[in-house]
């Protein structure tokens, strides 16, 4: 093959982009390849999103009966005590879930990352396995465990601390939220553990050796090496846990017998949306709830990112 020797040869070898346009089929090709995704996204993603924005300004009874009400749905939402009860319940659940699940998940991860623990793989699987069965199964299981008089939870508490056998975990309003938080702790601590385990394995061993040389004890190593080393995982877990907690629905819905429970003590924002949209049939109001939740979640996530310094990279 002949190689160009002079500038003139180089110029001659370079393709003339000014005059030669790519053929029409080359232009169309990328669009054809993304078309299947695009069509599906437009039909099942973009259209429902746009439609739900429009619906949020209507009172509806099913898709055919609609009356335009402007911002009335949002005004009603903000003055509805049930909505605020749902917000309060969801926030309480989220705060307690984060406060318990993340330290427990992290603790389990640190423990099961240690070389001296025998059968680590088994315990990792055991702690993660509640995630494999899903919220509905867990809901059914725990609704049996929490039964008064004959349930395992009450039997255990009665035998250990003398608690009354007829404690009604799922029908006494003040006990419903603790029951939900305990259930989700069992379910999600193992999942967080897996994320943290992945993070822990990226922390370099040399950093621990250096810290040991500097005289750091176990706590010091954890505080100054481990935590900064898994900071990005921690932020990720906090954000997905927050989003997941705000979307809580199936667990209380199943555990409380397809209802928000007595005194609406298990009413969450998504349950409130479901009841209004699919039980009462007001899809417009449900859309308003959905968009309010989406905006609220966006604000909370941005706040978390800002507070954690993740936005600064």
């Amino acid at each position: 093959m002949k190689t160009p020797d002079t500038l003139a040869d180089h110029a001659a070898a370079r393709p003339d982009t000014r005059r030669r346009r790519p053929p029409r089929r080359d232009k169309l090709a990328p669009y054809l390849f993304v078309a299947p995704f695009l069509i599906l996204f437009l039909v099942f993603g973009a259209y429902p999103l746009i439609k739900s924005v429009i619906l949020a300004f209507y009172i509806t009874s099913g898709p055919r009966d609609q009356v335009f009400v402007g911002l009335e749905n949002f005004r009603f939402l903000l003055t509805d005590p049930d909505f605020w009860k749902a917000v309060r319940n969801t926030v309480v659940y989220t705060v307690w879930s984060l406060a318990l699940q993340i330290p427990l998940g992290l603790g389990l991860a640190v423990l099961l990352n240690s070389r001296w623990v025998k059968g680590r793989e088994f315990f990792r699987l055991a702690f993660f396995s509640p995630n494999l069965v899903g919220q509905v199964f867990v809901g059914v299981l725990f609704s049996v465990l929490f039964v008064p008089q004959y349930g395992l939870v009450n039997r255990f508490l009665h035998a250990t601390v003398g608690a009354p056998l007829d404690t009604r975990w799922l029908s006494e309003p003040s006990l419903i939220m603790p029951a939900l938080i305990l259930t989700s702790l069992w379910m999600y601590a193992g999942m967080h553990m897996v994320y943290f385990l992945a993070g822990l394995q990226t922390v370099e061993r040399e950093l621990y050796e250096a810290a040991q040389l500097d005289g750091a004890n176990s706590w010091g190593q954890f505080w100054h090496v481990t935590l900064p080393g898994i900071r990005h995982v921690l932020i990720f877990v906090v954000i997905i846990s927050t989003i997941g907690s705000f979307q809580l629905f199936e667990l209380p819905w199943v555990m409380l017998g397809r209802s928000p429970g007595p005194d609406a003590a298990g009413l969450t924002i998504v349950m409130y949306l479901y009841i209004n949209g699919y039980v009462s049939g007001d899809l417009g109001y449900a859309s308003a709830v959905g968009w309010t939740l989406a905006l609220g979640l966006l604000a909370v996530s941005l706040l978390q990112l800002r507070l954690s310094g993740a936005l600064r990279g």
């Binding site: 299947p36 009172i59 039964v147 008089q149 009604r168 029908s171 007595p262 609406a264 049939g281």
Partner: protein
């Protein structure tokens, strides 16, 4: 293949897409065609209908009927979705009483069921059926469903334990007499006079209906703050709160079974359908159970109430509403078949002229040889109406909140200031329901 413009992979992908698309387009889904399709959520109903179907088909040669069981909650959500999308709508559907109102939210012409008012009056069904039972399936004066049942309520009790405690049920004619005995025999944590939920509504509703009250009146107005509702709450809360409570509730299913076996409750509310559940779930107490009418709120007052129910409706999508109507008449008013169904379900049919069948007089060994059918049939004409609304779910939620608030108050402060507190809570509950109802632009249109 080398001549395909974007290479072999793209050619294979395009080929697969075209082939699979062509297959799907050419393939016709094999769906058997029936003249009528009926959805029900209750297996005992479906079993009974399947037995009655051959006779119907003999009378209608060339016709076919498909009976499908759809899970309780799914029948409502699927049916609602089917009405909205106008796809996969059955010709007839049975709907549970507490969900019926959710179909009546929009304009009358948008309701997915056919208006049966004229047919009901023209065929004399209005006179044959206990009229109170049409109330839950009526909106704005129009009837959209035929009741499947009456569901009068009695008290079931552990006859052996009650006799051992020296209680004479003949003397429990009023609730005051019942409560007085209950305070004597209740041992908190071990034995309660009656299954009465401190947070749930089942027994409170029974008392509310018994007194002639309810969530709504015949015009669909919320009545949670009328004197009957206030008085009922004032009476009920002290039964499940405070030192002198006589009732408690542990839950349903296996827990109820254990509690009844252990004698944790002596009495419990028992509509006809629940007697069958008790027979099936608690066989150990066979022959040791009995039934009595509810105590009245005042001497000579109503001795029954109602709990639960089912309607059947013909959908607007049904192509042959006359055939659908004939099917309903066959399934809901066939004397012999319903008597046989009663033996299997204990459910009293809604038409009065069916109750003279000997099946309703048969003694039942499980119930200490009482003639279960006759006991319920004697009370059925007194069954109170329970009016409905699309906002029945909300009204129940608000009554539940009021109940819990009242129970807590009574637990903490007893009778001091209780009357005023009850009135305030019930007013708050009613105001919240009305606030939501005002948003519905269709609810007050005239029929």
């Amino acid at each position: 293949m080398a001549r395909f413009p974007y290479g072999a992979s793209a050619a294979v992908m395009a080929g697969l897409a075209v082939a699979s698309g062509a297959y799907l387009a050419a393939r016709r889904a094999h769906k058997p065609r029936y003249d009528l399709r009926l959805w029900t959520f209750a297996k005992p109903h479906a079993d009974a209908y399947l037995k009655m179907l051959p006779d119907f088909l003999r009378k209608h040669p060339g016709k076919s009927v498909d009976i499908q069981i759809v899970a309780g909650e799914a029948v409502t959500s699927r049916l609602q979705a089917a009405f909205w999308s106008n796809l996969d709508v059955p010709d007839l559907a049975e709907v549970e009483i507490s969900w019926a109102g959710s179909f009546f939210r929009g304009r009358l012409e948008s309701i997915g069921f056919r208006d049966l008012t004229e047919r009901i009056h023209q065929t004399g069904l209005w006179e044959r059926i206990v009229q109170a039972r049409f109330a839950p399936y009526t909106t704005r004066g129009r009837i959209f469903g035929i009741p499947h049942d009456v569901h009068p309520v009695m008290l079931a009790y552990r006859r052996d334990l009650v006799e051992k405690l020296g209680i004479d049920v003949e003397r429990l004619r009023t609730w005051d007499e019942f409560v007085e005995v209950g305070r004597r025999v209740t041992v908190p944590g071990k034995r309660f006079m009656m299954e009465l939920p401190p947070e749930g509504l089942s027994a409170l509703e029974v008392m509310l209906f018994q007194r002639g009250g309810g969530y709504f009146d015949a015009q669909g107005n919320c009545t949670l703050d009328n004197e009957i509702a206030i008085e009922t709450m004032r009476y009920y809360a002290p039964l499940v709160a405070g030192k002198h409570r006589i009732g408690n509730d542990l839950g349903g299913g296996q827990i109820f079974t254990r509690a009844l076996e252990d004698g944790y409750y002596l009495f419990m509310v028992a509509p006809d359908w629940r007697t069958k559940s008790i027979e099936q779930d608690v066989p150990k107490v066979a022959g040791r159970m009995a039934l009595m009418p509810l105590p009245a709120f005042h001497p000579g007052g109503r001795r029954t109430s109602t709990w639960g129910g089912t309607m059947i409706g013909i959908t607007k999508r049904c192509a042959d509403p006359d055939l659908a109507w004939e099917l309903i008449m066959h399934l809901y008013l066939n004397k012999e078949a319903l008597a046989e169904q009663f033996r299997g379900t204990n459910i009293l049919p809604p038409a009065r002229d069916l109750w003279d069948h000997p099946a309703y007089d048969e003694p039942r060994p499980f119930w200490s040889n009482q003639p279960l059918g006759r006991l319920y049939a004697n009370l059925a004409p007194e069954t109170p109406p329970q009016y409905t609304s699309p906002y029945i779910g909300l009204a129940k939620a608000k009554l539940s909140e009021a109940l819990i608030a009242c129970v807590r108050y009574y637990d903490r402060y007893g009778a001091r200031g209780f009357d005023g507190f009850v009135r305030q809570q019930m007013a708050r509950a009613a105001a919240e329901v009305r606030r939501q109802m005002r948003r519905n632009p269709y609810l007050h249109e005239n029929a």
